[in-house]
């Protein structure tokens, strides 16, 4: 027994010399880095024709995106006559609208709920909420999409939208219930647990001496949480916002299920109807049009959508990485 073990040790010395181990592992890490750079280069190279044919108008409004996509899909096989016209504003607007709305709603809710869990919740609620929040963060997005499309969408379609409202805009867009409000509500429910998990960890990591000192000076519990603990955990809140934004930005399946899948830009001037109008963010557009990837100009347009998503998510990741660094002062590593 013992001899076999020492033999294994010796063979370990032989095959894994120190330098070789360092070089192998370093090469492995560099490979992943190269893969990421390769991804960015590949996607951009593929997307370039779509950007270069449209110029800055690619990002602007004009025309119906679904019609434009249809024309690109039907473009002739001769590469000289490929159609590239694309004005993706409704998709960009829909992405920004759902993401910002969900993150703003979510962060307010998540901060309050985290304070509740850390400070005010009775012990039995705390023991239940901790695992449940983690479970909700792990539920696959397609399940949220399923609940949305089978429960919320019919509810909004049958009880919130009146036939009168439906007929008043029938010549522009169909109101079925798949709408901005359903998309934002489900997206908020999806990203909030992620934020709560990060923020509660950070609130708990703030040194207890700080809050105890404030309590000893006669500051009440709410003020202690709000002015000292939450303030000390600000970098974590920023990190949570960044992570949640990245998640919301890239959510494809759930949004393609509940957002109505119409490239329509909801108009805030429509009043209450604004919330009931359908839309389709970038990521959902990619999922909905994945069958067309065999048509080259169409694929290039789809990769252009992906490139926009990729740039935003890379910027967010690097921003989040920078935001998380101050937390290490407290020994919290997220």
């Amino acid at each position: 027994m013992r001899s076999s073990r020492s033999r294994r040790l010796i063979s370990g010395f032989g095959t894994w010399s120190d330098q070789r181990a360092e070089r192998t592992l370093g090469a492995l890490a560099s490979t992943v880095l190269i893969l990421i750079l390769g991804m960015i280069v590949f996607v951009f190279a593929k997307a370039w024709p779509s950007f270069s044919h449209n110029g800055l108008a690619w990002f602007g409004p004009g025309g119906n995106v679904d019609v434009q996509l249809g024309q690109i899909f039907k473009s002739p096989s001769d590469s000289q006559h490929w159609v590239y016209t694309m004005h993706a504003w409704p998709l960009l607007y829909a992405t920004a609208l759902t993401t910002v709305a969900a993150v703003v709603l979510g962060v307010v809710f998540a901060v309050l709920a985290s304070i509740f869990i850390v400070e005010f919740a009775p012990p039995f609620m705390r023991t239940v909420l901790d695992p449940v929040v983690r479970l909700l963060a792990a539920v696959p997005s397609v399940v949220y999409g399923l609940i949305g499309i089978l429960v919320l969408v019919p509810f909004v379609g049958n009880h919130v939208i009146s036939p009168h409202e439906q007929s008043s805009v029938a010549y522009v867009v169909q109101l079925t219930g798949a709408s901005l409000i359903v998309a934002v509500v489900i997206l908020t429910v999806m990203i909030t647990p992620i934020m709560i998990a990060i923020i509660t960890d950070a609130l708990r990591a703030v040194p207890t001496g700080w809050s105890e000192g404030a309590l000893a000076l006669g500051v009440n519990r709410w003020r202690v949480m709000w002015t000292i603990v939450v303030r000390a955990a600000r970098p974590a809140i920023v990190a949570a916002i960044v992570l949640a934004t990245a998640r919301a930005l890239g959510e494809a399946i759930m949004l393609s299920m509940v957002s109505g899948s119409v490239a329509f830009a909801p108009n805030p001037l429509d009043g209450f109807l604004f919330f009931l109008e359908p839309l389709r963010p970038l990521a959902a557009t990619i999922v909905d049009n994945a069958e067309g990837l065999s048509v080259p100009p169409f694929a290039q347009t789809i990769y252009a959508f992906a490139a926009v998503l990729l740039v935003s998510s890379v910027a967010l990741s690097l921003g989040g990485w920078a935001a998380k660094r101050p937390m290490r002062r407290f020994g919290v590593r997220l």
């Binding site: 040790l9 370093g26 909420l129 399940v143 709410w222 590593r333």
Partner: protein
């Protein structure tokens, strides 16, 4: 006195349960803050309970053993369209492939960052690169994977049509991209575990004459075992729950459709589906139009995720116990 004042002004603390004895002397904004916290907490409980109870109810209502053990058939008649045995196998296959790829790479990268990390700029670049992978939407990874694996070089991984057009969709290609989803979780958990190993353990090992490589293999990686297991389990949960990569990179075939002749390889080179894509396709958004089956499959999916979460707790609990014993 203060209670009297509150009573005279008709001002009751607007809190669901009074947080402490002195609440009545708090200023109005403080009480609103506490009330908002309670409201948020109770709303959170209600949403959690609603989702859990609703999915439990629907799942138990529609899930039958027959669904679990029969193959799906492309049939419009719901009584004949079968169950989701193939998607279930697909989920397990894909999760296994993904984690088998992600685990050694992730552990290797974490070890390199923590134990070597030279040159420093490269270590920082790798660390931020992992962050970038973590933040990249899976739909972008999916269509990047399609771009990558339809190159003729990777033809051996999937179905090659007449005229040398590589299909690019198979369990191999989807699993390879899935491993990128799990990678940041494995790296993160392993790095935390390595950092939490006290440096005197390393020094003791060096003092006994072991090289750094031997220390890593015999002391540090075994010491980080629970952290690695936690990361792997979290990664498996993420892989099992992803839909975008499956719909794009696994092909759209309902059943496992093997490619080639070698027994196990042919399945891995072939296309298939997973529970997530099954749920998607059977919801009103897909073609299936069988919400009952979608509910049942979603329930099974949630059960898998819960089991994985429970496993994380179990692993973490063991680590805590070990920590206390020390």
């Amino acid at each position: 006195m203060s209670a009297l004042r509150a009573g005279v002004r008709g001002r009751r603390p607007p809190v669901a349960g009074r947080p402490s004895q002195g609440a009545s002397s708090w200023s109005r904004t403080d009480r609103i803050g506490v009330a908002a916290c309670w409201a948020a907490g109770i709303l959170l409980c209600l949403i959690c309970a609603a989702i859990v109870i609703y999915m439990l109810f629907r799942g138990l209502q529609y899930l039958t053993p027959k669904l679990l053990f029969s193959h799906p058939e492309p049939n419009l008649d719901q009584s004949k369209s079968g169950g989701f045995l193939d998607p279930l196998i697909g989920t397990f296959l894909l999760t296994t492939i993904g984690i088998v790829i992600a685990l050694p790479i992730g552990v290797g990268i974490a070890v390199w960052i923590v134990e070597y990390g030279r040159p420093a700029w490269l270590a920082r670049a790798v660390e931020s690169g992992i962050e970038v992978v973590a933040g990249t939407p899976s739909i972008v990874l999916a269509i990047f994977g399609l771009l990558l694996f339809t190159q003729p070089v990777f033809g051996f991984l999937s179905f090659t049509a007449a005229g040398n057009a590589v299909f690019g969709r198979s369990f191999f290609t989807a699993g390879a991209m899935m491993s990128l989803i799990a990678l940041p979780l494995v790296v993160g958990a392993t790095r935390e575990a390595l950092l939490s190993i006290p440096s005197h353990l390393r020094e003791a090992s060096y003092a006994l004459g072991k090289t750094k490589a031997a220390t890593i293999r015999r002391v540090l990686v075994p010491g980080a075992r629970t952290g690695i297991a936690t990361g792997a389990t979290l990664g498996m949960g993420r892989i099992a729950g992803d839909t975008a990569i499956v719909t794009i990179l696994l092909g759209a075939s309902l059943q496992l459709s093997p490619t080639g002749g070698v027994p196990i390889l042919k399945t891995l080179r072939g296309t298939g589906s997973t529970l997530t894509s099954y749920v998607y396709n059977n919801s009103p958004a897909g073609e299936g139009q069988a919400p009952q089956k979608a509910y049942a499959a979603a329930f099974v999916l949630i059960v898998i995720v819960v089991i994985l979460n429970f496993a994380v707790d179990l692993i973490g609990g063991r680590r805590q116990k070990a920590g206390r014993a020390k």
